[in-house]
């Protein structure tokens, strides 16, 4: 750590420090001359409180508060700051933020450092732009004083202040050498920020900063960390959450060469070895029996479906309301025609490519700890480690690495895969790298829940949908994943229920509600959160209503979106792209629309169905989306491709089955992750509009299943209502 004195003595530029007060406006606590990090490595520990530094050599250091898991936030947030700073992007060095919610928290997550939900660009959008503009203003004010000219006569080019009247120029680096910094940061109103047509960086596509390291093997993930004296750990967890070992027979495990320690734990048994294979072999040699008291024992995913279904269909059972408008029950009773249907989604698994792992080094006295991990929340990881060791958070040093995929798996409040290495390192007081095998990653998985959706639509005599009910019976997610947010958010299970709201659709009376099923199964947010299951149910059901009532599915959506021109625009675009009205022999087209937190998405899938085997083949997939301003347009397209491929796997093949509480799948193959030969031709149209960015990382995932379900109906006349659409389910639907 650099001390304040070192800051002053080493003064070589400007450091700007700003505190973010919750999700509201910014407040400057400190803004003073200090050491720029001219030679600081990306470790960034010296910049504890700073968002940006200008060095005299022209280097611009910008702090990145987000984690990088392939979605591009590590580049996008600094790019937004650089845009308003008018910094020369080629001189920008990105520094990871220290784990401190008060400074770096995402306003979109109530000030938590949490990279998830496609909410990074949208969450930091105002904060990042405002801060960048404040830095630019201070730099310009200094130039104005130096030249003794009015501020209004100055303008900027990348990393340069200009005085057009006299042709004088000063680089930001030159200004850093003499600049004085005001005690309070200048006030920047949102109206003073750049207009989209003034952008030099936003909307122009720069290469993601870490990309070159990802083609030559040098990208560093936590699994790649090497430390002197490091040992290897493996953990045998119980088959269900909350169980503990009853008996441990470790005789064979101890006999494995290279085993250092067997560690009984509350939730399992840890093994520490000199090599990864010693740890794996010893773990596999353990014989453990488990306490049967945990809730999840006895849970069977197939047998649970009728139980969930009964709950969803029993209107005498009150649910936890999520989306309410008008009087759904009353309007349903008065409806001229009521349609109803049921949809089911199996448990599903993240399958991030990097199996969970972490490295920890606990001090000899057990009073401090250093960790290396790929987490979706830097501050959650630090807090979980501090709690596990009963030490202050200040005693935990985080080394954040790249994440080999996240998809919602790495942002649980307990950060159990990080704590694993901490608990084992504490035993031996040496660095320990804990590796989960893929089988561990599946068996200890935390899943998108099993859900049964019962829906009703009430139409008036003109054919307009006037009443809507959507009852979701599913395992709870939020209470398990993040008890703090659950309690702080009115005990709403938003991770499960998000997407069941239909605010954009012109349906006056609506009620969506949850019938929480207490199963004890480990659950999690998963790419698209509740939008995945809920949009499958609602959009496929709308297609069903349209077919049964003789309505055109596209016209129905256009009517429902009569007050949402941006929604209509993506629909018209995808209809044109896909030549939707053209009949194709042997093929079926399915259409779907979603409004995902303001990002408008419309899609058409073209499928064929092997009627003998029940196999669904998706040949083409067209998608149009309007995410508002696209900070990195090609990256938005890449994220959309990614979202579609992810959605294809969930729709067609991916399934976790549970027997007696235990996961039946164990690896990539039996879970069913899509491969290159499974992927249709993708046709994506990005329709950026000069609106606030509303997210792009997962917006297409939920639209895939309903589009395919509707396409299967068009191709075969069969309605597949149980995701994934396994061949036996397609055959059953056709029978």
């Amino acid at each position: 750590m650099t001390t304040r004195r070192e800051f002053m003595v080493g003064a070589a530029g400007l450091t700007f420090t700003v505190l973010v007060d919750g999700c509201a406006a910014m407040r400057t606590e400190e803004l003073r001359a200090g050491a720029a990090l001219a030679s600081a490595p990306a470790g960034g520990a010296k910049t504890v409180n700073a968002w940006a530094s200008l060095a005299q050599d022209g280097t611009v250091y910008i702090v990145n508060p987000a984690v990088e898991m392939g979605q591009g936030s590590q580049t996008a947030i600094p790019l937004i700051i650089a845009e308003e700073m008018d910094a020369d992007w080629s001189r920008v060095v990105i520094v990871p933020a220290a784990p401190d919610d008060k400074i770096y928290g995402n306003p979109g997550f109530r000030g938590l450092m949490y990279t998830a939900g496609s909410a990074t660009v949208t969450g930091y959008w105002d904060v990042a732009r405002t801060f960048g503009a404040q830095v630019r203003r201070v730099v310009m004010e200094n130039a104005a004083r130096k030249w003794d000219v009015p501020l209004a006569e100055l303008s900027t080019e990348p990393s340069t202040v200009l005085h057009a009247k006299t042709g004088r120029r000063l680089s930001y680096g030159e200004i850093a050498a003499f600049a004085q910094v005001p005690a309070a940061a200048p006030t920047i109103r949102l109206e003073e920020l750049k207009k989209p047509e003034q952008y030099r960086l936003i909307g122009k596509d720069v290469m993601r900063v870490e990309l070159p390291t990802k083609v030559n093997g040098t990208a560093q993930y936590s699994i790649d960390v090497q430390l002197p004296g490091m040992l290897y750990g493996a953990v045998l967890r119980g088959p269900v959450e909350g169980t503990s070992p009853l008996t441990i027979d470790d005789a064979q495990a101890r006999a494995v060469a290279g085993v250092v320690r067997i560690v009984p734990m509350a939730f399992g048994v840890g093994v520490i070895g000199e090599t990864p294979w010693a740890a794996f072999d010893a773990k596999n040699a353990l014989k453990v029996t488990w306490d049967r008291r945990a809730r999840a024992f006895g849970h069977d995913s197939d047998e649970a479906i009728p139980v969930y279904s009964a709950a969803a269909r029993d209107f005498n059972r009150a649910g936890k309301p999520w989306d309410t408008a008008g009087d759904a029950r009353g309007a349903m009773q008065k409806a001229a025609k009521i349609y109803e249907s049921e949809y089911v989604c199996d448990y599903s698994y993240h399958a991030q490519m990097e199996p969970l792992n972490s490295v920890a080094s606990v001090s000899a006295a057990g009073d401090a700890c250093e960790i290396w991990c790929g987490t979706q929340s830097q501050t959650m990881a630090v807090a979980a480690v501090a709690k596990a060791l009963a030490i202050p958070v200040e005693k935990v040093k985080l080394n954040l690495t790249l994440l080999g995929g996240g998809f919602g798996r790495r942002g649980h409040r307990d950060e159990e895969f990080v704590v694993d290495s901490v608990l084992l390192s504490r035993e031996v007081k040496r660095p320990v790298k804990v590796l989960w095998t893929r089988e561990d990653d599946v068996h200890n998985g935390r899943f998108r829940p099993l859900s049964v959706h019962f829906l009703r639509a009430g139409l008036d005599s003109s054919g307009r949908i006037v009443a809507w009910q959507h009852r979701v019976a599913c395992d709870e997610i939020t209470a398990f994943q993040d008890p703090l947010r659950y309690k702080g958010g009115g005990e709403k299970d938003f991770l499960a229920m998000a997407g069941s709201e239909l605010r954009t659709y012109d349906i006056p009376n609506r009620l969506s509600e949850q019938l929480p099923q207490e199963t004890g199964i480990r659950t999690s947010s998963l790419r698209g959160i509740g939008f995945g299951p809920n949009k499958f149910a609602t959009e496929a059901f709308l297609d069903e209503v349209a077919a049964k009532h003789g309505l055109d599915p596209v016209e129905l959506r256009l009517q429902l979106l009569k007050n949402t021109p941006r929604g209509q625009a993506v629909i018209r675009a995808v209809v044109e792209m896909s030549d939707y009205r053209r009949k194709r022999p042997g093929r079926g087209l399915g259409f779907s629309f979603i409004d995902y937190s303001g990002t408008m998405v419309a899609a058409v899938a073209e499928v064929s169905v092997d009627k003998a085997r029940g196999k669904v083949s998706v040949h083409d997939f067209w998608l149009a989306l309007d995410p508002g301003i696209a900070v990195q347009p090609d990256n938005v397209v890449a994220q959309t491709e990614s979202s579609i491929v992810y959605g294809l796997g969930l729709a067609l093949t991916e399934r976790i089955a549970i027997k007696d509480g235990a996961v039946q799948q164990s690896n990539i193959l039996d879970y069913g992750v899509p491969r290159m030969h499974d992927i249709p031709e993708l046709h994506i149209k990005l329709m950026s509009t000069p609106n606030r960015p509303t997210g792009a990382g997962q917006m297409a995932t939920p639209i895939v299943a309903p589009a395919i379900s509707s396409a299967v109906f068009a191709a075969s006349g069969a309605r597949v209502r149980h995701m994934p659409f396994l061949p036996e389910r397609v055959l059953a639907a056709m029978a």
Binding site: T213, G258, E354, G404, A638, V673
Partner: protein
Amino acid sequence: MIANQKGVDMAINFSVNGRPVSVNAPESTRLLWVLREELKLSGTKFGCGAGQCGACMVHIDGERMFSCLMPVAAAQGKAVTTIEGLSPGRMNALQRAWLAESVPQCGYCQSGQLMSAAALLAANPRPTRAEIKDHMSANVCRCGTYPRIVRAIERAVREG
């Protein structure tokens, strides 16, 4: 040096990226872990441990191989190439194409993807799109970069 499980010092000799190496490890130890943890070549990734995802793909005497399945003893006398040795010091046509098409997202599978693609082009310098898809389906990318991988391989063929 890693102790042999049986306590017998049985050196296994092979080359990695043109450099001779000698390792002591239980014969059944998978080459992947020797590369990563003993030889500190961490570009080759652990994804499934079962030959199902291809994150661990290396070349053995020029042919692609799942290093998570291959016992280190089977490498005796062979030439192993990892991502670090694919084109040392400069990027080859595939790596350039990978950047031009912005292929990687999380990036974790991409070493394996590149090693698979390089083996394909070594054997078949002008593959059809169907041949690309068939060959590359040994590798999984959970971020779904498949369309860009196809484009990047075709670009590498085109631009050489």
